[in-house]
């Protein structure tokens, strides 16, 4: 094989916030694929490009690291790949170390540490534009001579900003002399290098100082945070809702029109009520996921996200969480699925698991149809103290119950956890920068693919399974009861009544609980089906109001605050934690909480009435 045709495998290594991923995106564009490292849930990003010589270059974007002495699972991967001892991952032919030209005091230490590996290596001095703006001048030629490795200037966010790097990588890079591990004073070496090669007029950007004075202010900062969160929520609900409705309607229409070509029967029902309904159940999450992550990625890229974590860390820490848990938990109010996916920004595994554990307790938007149905049917729209509405107060109480329970569960989890060691915050607040549209677009595409490929399959197959349970066996001819009553789901519902009668649930509710597993809001339509086909043509709200007791309604409301009634969430937990154990723990504690809380509610409400 000729030298030009041989594959070159490079690994991009660097400190967090060095613009590593932007550089990776600039090099590979859309020719990248995201997977997980074997057995863990840390993202493995690989892409490729063709060098000017025609040589194919495979690029691995390693997780950001401050040091080869790993302090998190992300850093362990970077360390092991750099040492060439990660199972199933060949050592890279060449290490491209990325350093932020405006922050060389921190980043050069890692460069020196990597240099000691003795592998062929190139240093990319990134963000040269920001350095020039701040009057930082770097003698690149001298730095190259002193480091003994090629040093190339890059601007990863500018078109053509990596041309020099691409050109340099196309030529031969000699391996460095391996330096045996010793207790050298790397900081002293960095200071000497900086003194000789860099002139910097001031230490931080004036703009950062000005923004931080407002954004990190004890009062103003919290106001800014509240406004940002409010805007995100407005956007999620006002932008996503019409798209979700359109997806729902579109899939239903498409399913029906496909179904029209088939004879009435099991196959048609499977397609329309099973496959297409499942497809709809998957796709309907996409708008919320995309909009939420549009904001989360923009906030992350701009440097605001760690600031939000800074403001809230103390509050979250007292509950056994971390400042970084805030955004995932907040997202879970829209839907636990993007919320759990967003926990990837929490590097510490213990903090991440606790956040995932309590995320389903945040009242997601899918619970609202159940809440509004029951509240409208049972609670009079009376005003309290002149300004408050009784229905509103109850809805608010349900939300608060979820939040308080989440804090309590996190607090208990912290006490039960075997690992009681101190986990550090130690978080860098990077310089503010304008998010680059390309990096956000690539990030959004990745999130969408992760959801569709890894979670979509599970949701689709479970929806089809639930269709099967709800449709078979078919009712005997001439039966007047609803078809679901004869099905396996109906039988399960009747059996469930033995378990749920202490909570005040009747058999109709128990049946609706089964298909309600697919998505919480399906419980409402299932209830409608059960009652409609029983010959009740009046509206569901009035049926419920006339046939259920208040105690039953309250009990069902409380059930929905806790119940693990969403297989999509459980499927996401399985994918994001790579552990069935975590799924069972989550489902188990939620079920336990739901049962006990509903039991108490029903029994107390019955005693009082």
């Amino acid at each position: 094989m000729s030298a030009s045709a041989a594959l070159l495998r490079i690994a991009i290594v660097g400190n967090p916030n060095s613009g590593k991923t932007a550089l990776f995106n600039q090099l590979t564009g859309t020719r990248q694929k995201v997977a997980n490292y074997a057995g863990v849930t840390i993202e493995r990003k690989e892409g490729h490009y063709t060098a000017p010589s025609g040589r194919n270059v495979r690029v691995l974007d390693l997780p950001g690291a401050y040091s080869l002495t790993a302090a998190s699972p992300d850093e362990e991967i970077t360390r092991d790949v750099c040492y060439g001892r990660y199972p199933g991952e060949a050592a890279p032919d060449l290490i491209v170390c990325v350093a932020d030209a405006t922050n060389l005091r921190l980043h050069l230490r890692f460069v020196l540490e990597l240099k000691r590996l003795g592998r062929p290596m190139v240093l990319a001095l990134n963000m040269m534009d920001a350095a020039a703006r701040r009057g930082i001048r770097i003698d690149t030629a001298l730095l190259q001579e002193r480091l003994g490795m090629p040093v190339v200037e890059t601007i990863a966010v500018r078109r053509g900003g990596t041309a020099a790097l691409v050109e340099r990588l196309d030529r031969e890079v000699a391996p460095l002399a391996s330096i045996p591990e010793e207790h050298a004073d790397l900081h002293a070496e960095v200071r000497a290098l900086l003194a000789d090669t860099v002139t910097a007029p001031r230490r931080t950007a004036a703009a950062d100082d000005a923004i931080d004075r407002v954004v990190l202010h004890p009062v103003l900062g919290l106001v800014v945070l509240a406004v940002v969160m409010f805007l995100i929520f407005q956007a999620v609900f006002s932008w996503a809702k019409p798209v979700q409705d359109a997806i729902d309607a579109g899939i239903a229409t498409f399913g029906t029109s496909v179904g029209n070509f088939l004879p009435d029967g099991a196959l048609r029902s499977l397609l329309v009520d099973g496959v297409f309904a499942g497809l709809g159940a998957v796709l309907v999450f996409l708008p919320q996921i995309l909009i939420l992550f549009l904001f989360i990625l923009a906030l992350e890229e701009s440097g605001y996200l760690p600031r939000a974590a800074f403001l809230l860390d103390r509050m979250m820490l007292s509950a056994g969480l971390t400042g970084r848990s805030f955004i995932p938990l907040l997202s879970s109010f829209a839907c636990a699925i993007p919320g759990i996916m967003a926990t990837r920004s929490i590097q510490d595994p213990r903090d991440r698991m606790t956040t995932i554990l309590v995320a389903p307790l945040m009242t997601c938007s899918a619970r609202l149809p159940v809440y509004t149905l029951l509240i409208a049917a049972f609670i009079p729209a009376r005003s309290v103290a002149g300004v408050f509405n009784l229905q509103g107060i109850l809805l608010f109480t349900l939300y608060i119950a979820g939040i308080v329970s989440a804090l309590a569960v996190a607090w208990i989890a912290k006490r039960l956890h075997r690992d009681k060691s101190e986990h550090a915050l130690l978080m860098e607040l990077p310089s503010y920068r304008l998010p680059h549209p390309r990096d956000i677009a690539i990030g959004l595409y990745e999130r969408a693919m992760i959801f569709l490929k890894r979670v979509g399959g599970i949701i689709l197959s479970l929806t089809v399974l639930l269709w099967f349970l709800s449709s078979f066996p078919a009712p005997p001819p001439g039966a007047t009861e609803p078809a679901i009553d004869f099905s396996l789901a109906g039988r399960i519902g009747h059996l469930l009544q033995y378990i749920f009668s202490p909570l005040g649930f009747n058999w109709q509710i128990c049946i609706a609980l089964v298909p309600g597993l697919a998505a919480r809001e399906v419980a409402v339509s299932s209830l409608a089906t059960v009652y409609a086909l029983s010959g009740n043509e009046a509206g569901l709200s009035s049926i419920v109001a006339s046939q259920w007791s208040l105690a039953t309604a309250l009990s069902l409301l409380v059930w929905y605050v806790y119940a693990p009634m969403c297989i999509s969430t459980l499927a996401t937990i399985r994918r994001e934690t790579n552990s069935w154990r975590q799924v069972w723990i989550t489902a188990g504690y939620l079920f336990g909480l739901a049962y006990v809380a509903s039991l108490l509610t029903y029994q107390i409400a019955r005693m009082l009435s």
Binding site: R105, D212, G323, L426
Partner: protein, 81 residues
């Protein structure tokens, strides 16, 4: 004095990072991040609740440290140093 006791806006010079326990990974990481003898540090901001965490400026970088983490860093005020 300790970095955790430094007032907002005050500048100090690092003396040493102490290990809270044997092979303290947090202290080691602090040293790797540049918290070493002779480096000047400044408290840029404090969290809204109980002044925790602290935002520490060191070199070109800003790190958020909880007070328990900052307490590992012994410093002297700049005038004295």
């Amino acid at each position: 004095m300790r970095l955790s006791e430094l007032a907002k806006g005050a500048t100090a010079v690092i003396q040493e990072v102490e290990d809270a326990n044997m092979n303290d990974p947090i202290s080691r990481r602090l040293r790797e991040l540049g918290f070493v003898r002779g480096e000047p540090v400044r408290i840029v901001a404090q969290g809204p609740l109980g002044g925790d965490p602290l935002l520490v400026q060191i070199g070109f970088t800003r790190f958020a440290l909880r007070k328990a983490e900052a307490a590992r860093v012994r410093v002297v005020l700049e005038e004295i140093a």
